[in-house]
Structures are given as C-alpha cells and as structure tokens.
C-alpha cells in the first residue's frame, strides 16, 4: 500500500449532499403540514379556496412520500456512494473524466426528474400506485438516471485498486439491481395517446396518460411486490451500506464479524423479496401467497437483526466513544430503531395481528420509526461524517448536534407511540360489536377518537423537522465558517468544535 493518501474528488458527492438537505426539508415540511391537516382539517384551505387544490391533503400526500423516498433518501444514497465508493475502491473520480461527466449528468438529470415529479404530482398527474406515481415520461427519465448511476458504480469498480469489494459496495450493487428490476416491472404501462387506435383514432386525450399493464388482483400483486421491496432496496439495503462504512470509520473499530456480514447479506437478499405478500393479507390474492408472505416475514427478522447486531458488537468496549460523540450516538440509535422496526414489521405481518394493524395508523407509525429513526438518522450521521472531509472544515457545533439528537429522538418516540396507539385503538373500534353482533361505532366515531393522537404525531413530526433544520444549519455553518482542518485530523473521529 502506498503511504500518500489519494486525493479523492467529492464534486458529485457535494452536489447530492445539497439535494439531500434541501429535499429532506421539503419532504419533512410537507409531512408536518399533512400531519396537522389531519389534526385540524380547516388547514386544508388555510391559503384560501383558490389554491386549496394544491394545499389539500390528498394532493400533498404522494408528494410527501416521494420527496422523502426519491428526494431525501435517494440523494443521501447517491451522496454517500460518490463518497464511499471512491474510498473503499481506492480510486478517485478525478482519475476518469468519463466517470466525472457521468456523475454530473446523473446529478443534473436527477434534478430535472425531481422538478418534473413535483410539478406533475401537484397537478394531480399520477398513476395512483404508491411510490410509483409517475407517468411514463418521468419513468423513462428515472430509468436513464438509474442507468447513469449504474454506469458510475460499475465504472468505478472497473478501475478500482482494491481487489475485493467491501461490504458496503455489495449493498450498493444490490440497491442498484433491486430497484432496477422492481421499478421496470411495476411501471409497465400502455400510453393511451399512442395506443388508442381501435378505430384508427390515436392521439386522443392527455399525451402523458397511461394505463397499467396489469388489472385488479394481478396489479395489486405486482405493486406490493414492488412497494415492499422498494422499502427493502431504498430504505434498508443502501442504509446498511452506509452503516457498514461510517460506523467503523468514525469509531476506528474493525467490523465485528465478516461471517455475520456475509450471511446477513445473502439471506437478506434471498428472503426479503418473498415477504411482499404481507401487504395483501385478507385480500383477494390466493391464500397460499398470503401465507408465504407471512412466513417469510418472520424468517426475515434474523437477517435484518444480523446487520444491526454486527454494528452494535463492532462498538464492543467502546462505550466511551458512544457517550462522547453525538455522531456515534446517531448511528447506534439508528441501529436500535432498525431492530425495532424490523421486528415490528414481521409482527404486523402475522395474519391475526394484521387483521387489526392493516389500514390503520400503526402501519404509518411503523414506516416512520424506520424512516425517521433508522434511515434519516443514518443519512444525517453520514453527512456529518462527510462534511469535514468534503469541505476540509471542522463541524461547526458539537453541542448543536447533541441538542438535535435529543430533540429528534423525542420526536420519533412521540411519533411512533402516538401512531401505534391510534392504530390499535382504531383497529379495535372497527371490530367492536355488542352481544347481538351490532357494530358499536360508526366510522366517523373511530376517526374522532384519533384526534389527540393526530395532534401528538404532528408535534413529534414538527420536533423532528426542527432537528433537521438544526442539522442543515450546522452543515451550512461548517461549510462557511468552520475551522480549516488538516488531513491527519480526519482519520477517524470527526473533528467538531464545541
């Protein structure tokens, strides 16, 4: 090994760090607005009935989920890839003009895609499929963005100096392949503008409109095979990639067990895809498929926990670091929420529990303890680790980071406790009946009962957003006024000003 460290080029990583922060703020802000619209419905028209169409819960809701998934999270995945990829493959982007150009086009086309998504969703142009709402022109743009990322991944791997691929790279490759396969199959659709030629009359109606290739139950099956695994390959796999790099790097500890990494990876890949059926329990999908979804969900607990346990054991004997560094706290708590969330999911996938949980806020709570507690914590920690290396500056404020940690932790806890209470309460009220089989509650009774929990959830979400703004401010200040640091300060623990 050579002694002089490579000069890595973080241009593209920097660009995606920016969109991670900006789209994070957008996604979470819209989320908080939605939460309060449910608690206080008059907020739907607070800007007047003229623009109510665009401030309404139902228009904003897909914007929230997509901004967080494809905006915030995906930007975070790209930002960390363009950082981690170079370092663990031991090759700089500066060495290849081609890869640099691909990276930049990747970024700019991504921005165009994001803009198109925002505009089209606000206009109500949607296919209605969750996390796949985009009509075919945007789908094509997304496929190109994805291919460019693939070129970047495999291009960088092609010129690598480190022969064996590090664990994080396994997970990035899996993210790329998984989403590519899922997205293509779920978005098979026929543009009506071109195919409405039954009587020789093409060119009717909206040019961007399309109709799904699949109908009814089949459509549902493909959608939730996709929906479930979009979570797998968007919210689990790439985030595990981050944790395998940033935790050992920041703490200076070696990964606890290669074998555990290996088995967790391959079993996660194999098992995850089978569990999609648990979104369709008690639907019109055949019984055996539903049961398969439930069974594999239970088996899935251990591969997920394997990675989290590997993280926790990597910190064996390092309590001092956990206590002192807010950055490591973020990552440890993220692993904890990952375990919580990956046990909660399979419990909700048990048919009898699902009978209550499905269609209620408990599911919403589950998604958010995963995304707020695990995904966003891990992404923020990654960016905190990257910022001083990318900007060659010291983190602006450690105490601000600490405050942010506790505010956001409180936010997550308020969020998921209020939502699981709301979910179980409503699920039980829907089922409640008297001794004569009469239903006890009309539907609206079960909605009215949720008001306090909707409010608490809104507060939890708002706290989390405040924490995220502190994060954005901290990174901004690091970039602008942070103390210049030397390369040797950047080996492991991130330098932070008090």
């Amino acid at each position: 090994m050579e002694n002089r460290p490579l000069e890595y080029d973080y241009t593209v990583a920097k660009m995606f760090m920016l969109t991670t922060i900006v789209l994070g703020i957008v996604g979470m802000l819209v989320g908080v607005i939605l939460a309060f619209e449910l608690a206080f419905p008059s907020l739907n028209t607070v800007l007047g009935s003229g623009v109510a169409e665009y401030t309404n819960f139902s228009r904003l809701r897909p914007l929230h989920t997509d901004a967080v998934i494809f905006g915030f999270t995906l930007s975070g995945v790209f930002a960390t890839w363009y950082y981690v990829g170079q370092r663990v493959l031991k090759v700089s982007m500066a060495e290849s003009k081609f890869l640099m150009a691909v990276g930049k086009i990747h970024f700019y086309l991504y921005i165009v895609g994001v803009a198109a998504v925002v505009v089209s969703l606000l206009m109500g142009i949607t296919t209605s499929k969750e996390y796949a709402e985009f009509e075919w022109p945007i789908d094509i743009a997304i496929v190109i963005v994805w291919v460019l990322w693939g070129v970047s991944i495999f291009g960088l791997i092609g010129i690598r100096r480190e022969k064996a691929l590090y664990i994080s790279v396994w997970y990035y490759i899996a993210t790329f392949l998984g989403i590519a396969m899922l997205y293509l199959f779920n978005n098979m659709e026929v543009p009506t503008y071109f195919f409405a030629d039954g009587a020789g009359q093409a060119g009717i109606g909206a040019w961007y409109h399309s109709v799904s290739m699949y109908a009814g139950t089949n459509d549902a099956l493909v959608q939730w095979w996709y929906g479930h695994n979009a979570v797998a390959f968007g919210f689990t796999v790439p985030i595990v990639a981050m944790s395998y790099y940033f935790l050992p790097k920041e703490s200076g500890q070696a990964i606890y067990s290669y074998k555990l990494s290996l088995l967790s990876f391959w079993s996660l890949m194999f098992v995850y895809l089978w569990a999609g059926g648990h979104h369709l329990l008690f639907s019109t999908v055949p019984d055996w498929m539903q049961t398969m979804g439930s069974v594999f969900s239970i088996v899935l607990i251990l591969p997920s926990w394997g990675s989290a346990i590997n993280m926790l054991l990597t910190m064996k004997g390092e309590w001092k670091q956990v206590a002192e560094s807010p950055l490591i706290k973020f990552m440890i708590l993220a692993s904890t929420f990952y375990m919580f969330s990956t046990l909660e999911g399979p419990i909700q996938a048990i048919k009898s529990v699902n009978a209550i949980a499905h269609f209620t806020d408990w599911i919403v709570g589950h998604v958010h303890d995963g995304v707020l507690g695990w995904v966003a914590f891990m992404i923020m920690a990654s960016l905190f680790h990257m910022a001083p290396r990318v900007f060659k500056k010291e983190i602006y404020s450690k105490s601000l980071m600490n405050t942010q940690f506790w505010i956001q932790t409180l936010g997550v806890i308020l969020y998921f406790t209020s939502m699981w209470i709301a979910g179980i309460t409503q699920g039980m009220m829907w089922r409640a009946h008297d001794a004569f089989g009469n239903l006890t509650y009309s539907f609206v009774d079960t909605v009215a009962a949720l008001h306090p929990y909707f409010f608490i959830r809104g507060v939890g979400g708002a706290l989390y957003l405040i924490g995220f703004l502190m994060f954005a401010y901290n990174i901004y200040k690091t970039w602008t006024v942070g103390r210049q640091v030397e390369e040797r300060e950047l080996t492991n623990a991130t330098p932070m000003a008090a």
């Binding site: 449910l38 608690a39 419905p41 009935s49 309404n56 819960f57 139902s58 897909p62 109500g124 949607t126 209605s128 499929k129 969750e130 495999f154 791997i157 691929l165 396994w170 490759i173 392949l177 396969m181 199959f185 026929v190 009506t192 409405a196 039954g198 009587a199 009359q201 009717i204 109606g205 909206a206 409109h209 109709v211 699949y214 109908a215 009814g216 139950t217 089949n218 459509d219 099956l221 493909v222 929906g227 391959w266 890949m269 194999f270 995850y272 895809l273 089978w274 008690f282 639907s283 019109t284 999908v285 009978a355 269609f359 209620t360 009946h433 089989g437 239903l439 539907f443 609206v444 909605v447």
Partner: protein
C-alpha cells in the same frame, strides 16, 4: 466461494440478481398464468364512470380510502359482502389503497346517493360531523377530461380485449340474474363526449347545485359529476 465472488464484481452482481429475482418468479407468475376472470355481473366502466375514476385518482382518494372489503364479520357488516378477485377484473390500476383514514368505498354505490356525495364533497365536516376529510370545491368548477377516458377505453379494448361494444360489434356481458348486458362506447370522440353528457344529465337531475346544473345544460361536465358517476357505480 463468497470470497471469490467478492473479487469478481460481474459474477457477484449476477449472483445477487438471481437471488432477488427468484422470489418474483415464484410469487407472481402463477397468478398471471391464470388470467384474471371477471365475476358474473362485473362490467367495464362507462365513459363517464371512467372519467370519474380518473378524477378519483387525480385527487389521490386512494390515499385515504380503501376499496377492499376483508372477510371479517365486522367489515362485511359495515361495508357489504367481501371482495372477490374477479370484481377487479377491469380495474387498471387497482385502487385497494393501503390506509383507511376514511371508510372503505368498494360498495359505496349501495348505500350513498348522488345528493349525499354532492353535499359531502363540498362540505364533508358539515355532512359528517367529526370527519377529517378536506372539501373539494374545485371539482364543482374544473371540467372533467372525457377525452382521456375515451382514449383509455379504446386502448384497453384493443390491447387487453376489454368487452366494450362498439358500433355494430355487440359483446354480451353475463349478469347475475341470468340476463346479459352490453357496455357501449362511441365510435368517435364527439360521440363519446355526447354519450358522457347524456350520463351526466341523469346524475345532475339528482343534484342541487345550480352552477353545476347550468354547466351540464350548456354541454360541459364538471369533475364532480364524473366522480359521482364513478362512486355510484361501485357496488
């Protein structure tokens, strides 16, 4: 073996792909092999109903309303008989939803009426005290896009062989009582708009909003009329 793979990115990627693609094959293909057959009595949507379905999708009604009645007594008591696979045979896309912030709508046509929807879409909380549903005043003024719905009907007829009758071609659809019906679509765009307007007139006869009535009388179809046509068709 794994260590060997980790040094060969191509084979590694192939390995990952095989492992993740496997489940999809087992899980999804069997149900596709057997084409989704409509149950007796299930008809494709008329032009105005399909237009209304697009309004439903445009406003993400499915974000809060499911269309899937699970086989529990508590659900069949509340919403009517449990869902059967064939009832969704003409649903592209499916609209089962994943969250019931509001009640299920799979059979809402059985127990709500045109006028109820009219009141409710304008003022949900006044209609159902305690509701958290927002109001949709713009649906009373925005015009529905019949053209796109017609384009979709032509597409699904030619690509997916949905049994629409057109011109001289009559395709009989069996009904529960042993009779059979046809669902006609027009042969021209102008004809489709005219047919949708006729359907719309039947809906507005039960409505109160004078502006909406005037618009339909003038040959224009506001979104609310199409949406109500769709909701009434859910049975």
């Amino acid at each position: 073996m794994f260590h060997w793979l980790e040094k060969r990115p191509f084979f590694f990627a192939v390995g990952v792909f095989v492992v993740i693609a496997f489940a999809g094959l087992v899980e999804i293909l069997p149900n596709f092999a057997q084409q989704s057959q409509p149950t007796v009595g299930t008809k494709p949507y008329s032009t105005l109903e399909l237009t209304g379905r697009h309004v439903y999708i445009k406003n993400s009604c499915n974000a809060c309303h499911s269309q899937l009645i699970r086989p529990f007594k508590s659900e069949t008591d509340r919403y009517g008989s449990y869902s059967k696979s064939g009832e969704y045979a003409y649903d592209r896309p499916f609209l089962w939803g994943s969250k019931r912030t509001g009640p299920d709508l799979m059979r809402v046509g059985n127990y709500r009426t045109t006028d109820w929807h009219e009141n409710h879409m304008m003022d949900p909380i006044g209609t159902v005290p305690g509701s958290v549903m927002p109001s949709y005043p713009w649906m009373f003024t925005n015009l529905a896009d019949v053209d796109t719905a017609y384009a979709e009907q032509l597409t699904i007829k030619s690509v997916f062989k949905v049994p629409y009758s057109m011109g001289d071609e009559k395709i009989l659809i069996p009904m529960e009582d042993g009779t059979s019906e046809t669902v006609e679509i027009a042969t021209t765009l102008a004809g489709a708009n005219a047919a949708a307007l006729e359907e719309a007139k039947l809906i507005v006869a039960d409505m109160k909003n004078q502006d909406v009535k005037d618009m339909v009388a003038a040959g224009k179809i506001p979104e609310i009329v199409a949406l109500i046509a769709y909701l009434n068709s859910l049975k």
